[in-house]
């Protein structure tokens, strides 16, 4: 799943390690989410949204919704 995590992180001048520390996960987790290799669970997605002061939809792009808007 594509996401804007790298952009949001860069806007705040946070490294992957900084974000990992704030989320209490490993740096590898942040990297895997950023590169789209791993989709976070709903609780972690909510934590990310809270941390960046935005919504989940503003961070993660629902490609299925773009391809099939009626579903």
């Amino acid at each position: 799943m594509k996401n804007r995590l790298r952009v949001l992180r860069a806007e705040r001048n946070w490294s992957q390690a900084d974000l990992a520390q704030k989320l209490e996960v490993s740096r590898q987790s942040v990297n895997a989410i950023e590169t789209g290799k791993f989709d976070p669970s709903l609780p972690l997605a909510f934590r990310l949204a809270r941390l960046f002061g935005t919504t989940i939809e503003a961070i993660f792009l629902d490609e299925d919704a773009i391809d099939h808007p009626t579903l």
Partner: protein, 136 residues
Amino acid sequence: MRTCNKNISPLHRRSIVPIASMMSICGGLTAVTPRIERGHFSTSTYYGIALIAVLPIIGTMIVIARYLSQETDEYMRHLVTQSILWGFGMVMVIDTFLGYVVQSYLPHTAALTALNLEIFLIASAIALRIQMGRNQ
């Protein structure tokens, strides 16, 4: 359960140390078992030895289950779960292959299934390293 990493967490350490101990116990049993002569002891003694050989495997499963339930990092949990599946897969592949070879050509050889725990742990550790290496 990160391997070869100096920055391991207390949870990783709590899991790696007992697993390494189980592996050593299992390795020791594997080395000793072929020296036990067939028909030398009573049947119940052989069953007892077989049960002792199973204990490190049960212990390892308990440690892994405890690790997975206590790991708060869901990505690490995901990687470890995938690595465990690779470990089990490798055990089945090697067991099946060796089973057929032993049955066909070496019927008097000691049970190679005694190496199952070692194969499982080594294959799981390699799979975990590869997965973590891909995501540096």
